[in-house]
């Protein structure tokens, strides 16, 4: 049980590391948001599962379930809000091959 918990914690840490690297290496805002959102969501899951396995009693597990549910709801909504704000602030990267939002404005 302890070993499984360590494995989950290490996997979570690795995903966080990859997310951070992604934020550093990606060339524009939208791709940075993408890397950040996905890596932190699964990283948080993995770390929370690791914590639950480290001490599997009901009072911990119930709290962790609540935290996971809130993360699963709030993380993508937050990134969508940032992306929308980025777009509305006209801070649009010039490497887009297609821009449906712009076409919408012209119609």
């Amino acid at each position: 049980m302890t070993i499984a918990s360590y494995v989950f914690l290490i996997i979570g840490g690795l995903f966080y590391l990859l997310g951070g690297l992604g934020v550093l290496r990606m060339p524009d805002t939208f791709n940075r948001i993408q890397a950040g959102t996905k890596a932190t969501t699964l990283g948080a899951f993995s770390i929370l599962i690791g914590v639950a396995l480290a001490n599997p009693v009901w009072s911990w597990i119930s709290k962790i379930i609540i935290i996971i549910v809130f993360i699963i709801i709030s993380n993508p909504i937050g990134s969508s809000a940032i992306a929308k704000a980025t777009y509305n602030s006209k801070n649009i990267p010039d490497n887009l091959v297609q821009d449906a939002l712009k076409e919408r404005g012209e119609e």
């Binding site: 997310g19 290496r25 060339p27 993408q34 996905k38 379930i65 992306a83 929308k84 449906a100």
Partner: protein, 160 residues
């Protein structure tokens, strides 16, 4: 009916956080009752007899697919981040959805955000605007099938 569902939801969250003891149930009921009176005009829980079936479908059909896609998305991010020259072909595409309810659209947009290479930016009526790392399809129909297809089918059976 709205009062009851709001109250039960709040009490359940409270008890999961605080633990199931007699004291907590009493205090949780009081707190939930006060919060219910304040919050009830903002909530819109409509629960009917189909709800348990929908919940089971959600838990056992949607969640596994979602977790699998989330893992794929992370491997995809890892591959892109670790390759020396980041492979990118980004664009914003329009995805059409058949889902009518707000909750259904929210779940679909969240799922799109957490699947490989896509990030939903805005929702407008029946369209979701999605930023993708790699634009594959030529037309909106093709993009819709690629991005929303797998979730649309599952969520269509759960939400209106």
């Amino acid at each position: 009916m709205k009062y009851v569902t709001t109250f039960v939801t709040l009490l359940l969250i409270y008890l999961l956080l605080a633990g199931f003891t007699v004291n907590e149930v009493i205090l949780g009921s009081i707190v939930s009752a006060i919060l219910t009176i304040i919050l009830v005009k903002y909530t819109d829980f409509r629960i009917n007899w189909k709800f348990p079936i929908k919940l089971l479908k959600f838990l056992f059909i949607y969640i596994p697919v979602f977790i699998w896609k989330l893992i794929l998305a992370n491997l995809d991010v890892a591959r892109r981040v670790l390759s020396p020259k980041i492979p990118l072909n980004p664009g914003i595409v329009k995805v059409k959805t058949e889902l009518k309810g707000d909750l259904g659209k929210l779940t679909l947009a969240n799922s799109i955000t957490l699947t490989p290479g896509t990030l939903s930016i805005d929702v407008e009526d029946q369209y979701i605007f999605v930023h993708t790392v790699d634009v594959k399809g030529k037309s909106d129909v093709e993009n819709t099938a690629n991005i929303a297809g797998p979730f649309e089918k599952i969520l269509g059976g759960i939400f209106d």
